[in-house]
């Protein structure tokens, strides 16, 4: 983001930046006043992490087939997936808060003001990406606390990993915003956005694709989370990335563009 300071004569871009940062401040104020929603969304990934490591860990790692049961190896295996699942869960929260917000009367007021049209959505998107970053850091801290170490990551790998996580957050957020806009209320939004949490469960997050039943492998393989997880795993743990890097970036860009235009068309039509 460039500087939010407006020059003497506001251009379209500076208007967009200024209004979007105002909207972002509004969303952050909401999140700060009502933090329970954000914290609730963190519970699921942390719970899954602890559950899979401490309860299923031995069985799972033995089943995956690196020989014997090795809980710490399994911890390393699932952390990349857990981090992406954290992003998925956080963006469900974004879908809900967009749907809730659209039912607030003040949105009608924004629509009748000479402000940058997209700023309402951009504020939500940036707020959501920041929230994703925060959630990933918190869940990552839990992972480190129970013994996770990114053994093979160089500084560049770390940078790429952070970039990948941010890109995934951006892409999923735009999709979530579209889901929120197309939902009449918060409940509908959280139902409609459920795939954002379910898809990572059906990916290579907990079990490698080749260890899954044959009929299921295509589902796990050709969905956006698996290449993203494989890429992150490669960056943090030094496993092979192969095509997954480009696939992940392609998915993210595709989803971001799709979500952007979808959201934009939903937001520009007459309100109900």
């Amino acid at each position: 983001m460039s500087s939010p300071l407006a020059p003497a004569r506001p251009t379209r871009i500076s208007l967009a930046v200024r209004d979007s940062s105002t909207m972002l401040r509004r969303n952050l104020l909401h999140a700060r006043r009502y933090p329970s929603m954000t914290l609730n969304l963190l519970l699921t990934p942390v719970m899954l992490l602890l559950l899979f490591v401490y309860i299923f860990g031995d069985v799972m790692s033995a089943g995956i087939g690196h020989g014997g049961a090795d809980r710490s190896e399994y911890l390393a295996y699932i952390v990349p997936g857990i981090l992406l699942l954290t992003i998925g869960g956080t963006t469900i929260g974004s879908a809900v808060s967009v749907a809730t917000d659209m039912n607030e009367g003040i949105i009608a007021r924004f629509r009748m003001m000479a402000i940058h049209r997209g700023s309402v959505l951009i504020g939500h998107v940036i707020g959501s990406v920041l929230q994703c970053v925060m959630s990933v850091v918190l869940v990552g801290a839990v992972a480190v606390a129970i013994g996770f170490r990114a053994t093979h990551a160089t500084a560049v790998d770390w940078l790429l990993a952070v970039g990948l996580l941010a890109l995934v957050a951006l892409a999923l957020t735009w999709i979530a915003v579209g889901m929120g806009l197309s939902s009449p209320n918060a409940e509908a939004a959280s139902n409609n956005a459920l795939p954002l949490m379910v898809l990572p469960l059906l990916s290579s997050a907990f079990v490698p694709v080749h260890a899954m039943p044959g009929w299921f492998q295509p589902i796990a393989k050709y969905q956006p989370f698996t290449p993203a997880i494989e890429t992150l795993r490669g960056l943090l743990l030094g496993t092979g990335i192969g095509d997954n890097g480009w696939l992940a970036v392609g998915w993210c860009l595709g989803l971001a563009v799709l979500g952007y235009f979808w959201s934009k068309s939903l937001f520009t039509r007459d309100p109900k």
Binding site: T22, R25, R26, R33, G105, I106, F110, M113, A114, D270
Partner: protein, 341 residues
């Protein structure tokens, strides 16, 4: 007449004062239901215009189209010289809108709502704080300023809503039922604020269910019914449109009432209230001739009141299509709003 060259003006408006709002043949339907069926309006800059109409007549729809919230299906509308369809941002920059339903952010405080508006109007921090403090004071919200807006009472929310509309000094203000839910003091306060705005040259477009409010504030009034403007004019012009003015004589002695009723055959009787109604336009001349006539007939009533039709009568007469009603006959019911002279 000076022989000047005729200028082919691109403006459609005539030689009158410039219009702040003008519409031609505005139409809007929801599904099969035609809400607006060709609305023509012309509101001069600096005036107060009131749009009346029964529930569901399309007042809010009209406000929403003119304030660029929704788009019309047909016709044209210009606000502040900008077409609402082709230049919505030009319109938005000139208007302030308080819709019928609360448009405040309930999760943040009243003060934060005001500062949010200031930011969106690109006021400096300092200016934003000054405007916020001033408006909170003016709308009697200082004590509640630091509380979340969702904890406000209905009237407080309404006041905050209107305060938010005034940030940025809009030149044209739309107020959809601005005083609904306000207590009498707040209502009079609001009227005062509207008058102050108008004296600063602001154009006000308001809808209301309180006809007294339209009478008090509006330079011109239009009555919307069945998708069309049923009548438009000043309050007095509208009142002249319908019959219903009368003089009412009330008796306390039943026998005096009976003899008067017999003497004055042309009147409408209200036997229960011991009252007689004589049709009248309320002019001084006619009043005198009626008094002379009563004297010569030896009739002495205990109370005489002159009733001129008020906007309620106009409203009932113009929007009566659904209720079978004979507007030519004076009403038999007790009129609560008589003007005692």
């Amino acid at each position: 007449m000076p022989s000047s060259v005729m200028l082919t003006s691109s403006r459609a408006s005539g030689p009158q004062s410039p219009a702040a709002v003008s519409t031609v043949g505005l139409r809007k339907s929801y599904g099969d239901k035609t809400v607006l069926d060709g609305i023509d309006l012309r509101i001069p800059a600096g005036s107060v215009f009131a749009l009346l109409g029964p529930n569901g007549a399309g007042k809010t729809t009209t406000v929403q189209i003119l304030s660029t919230l929704i788009t019309a299906d047909g016709g044209q509308a210009q606000v502040a010289g900008h077409d609402v369809a082709t230049s919505p941002d030009g319109v938005r920059a000139a208007i302030g809108v308080t819709g019928q339903f609360s448009a405040v952010d309930g999760l943040i405080t009243g003060e934060e709502n005001m500062l949010l508006m200031a930011d969106l109007h690109h006021l400096s921090k300092r200016e934003g704080r000054r405007v916020t403090a001033e408006l909170l004071e003016r709308f009697d919200l200082v004590d509640a300023a630091r509380k979340p807006a969702q904890s406000y009472s209905g009237g407080m929310k309404r006041r905050l809503d209107i305060a938010m509309t005034l940030v940025g000094n809009p030149r044209i203000i739309f107020l959809d039922e601005p005083t609904t839910g306000l207590d009498p003091r707040s209502r009079h306060n609001m009227w005062q604020i509207i008058r102050e705005l108008v004296s600063d040259g602001v154009t006000v477009f308001l809808t209301t269910q309180y006809l007294e409010e339209a009478d008090e504030l509006a330079d011109r009034i239009a009555v919307l019914n069945n998708g069309k403007i049923a009548a438009e004019g000043t309050a007095d012009e509208l009142k002249r449109l319908i019959p219903g003015g009368h003089i009412r004589l009330r008796f306390s002695d039943p026998s005096a009432y009976q003899s008067a009723a017999l003497a004055l055959r042309e009147v409408t009787r209200d036997d229960e209230a011991l009252a007689l109604q004589i049709p009248s336009d309320g002019s001084q001349r006619e009043l005198r001739s009626i008094l002379d006539w009563l004297d010569s007939a030896g009739i002495e009533a205990d109370e005489l009141t002159v009733h001129t039709p008020d906007l309620d009568d106009v409203f009932f007469a113009l929007t009566a299509a659904t209720v079978p009603n004979q507007p030519t006959q004076p009403k038999q019911t007790n009129q609560p709003k008589e003007t005692a002279r």
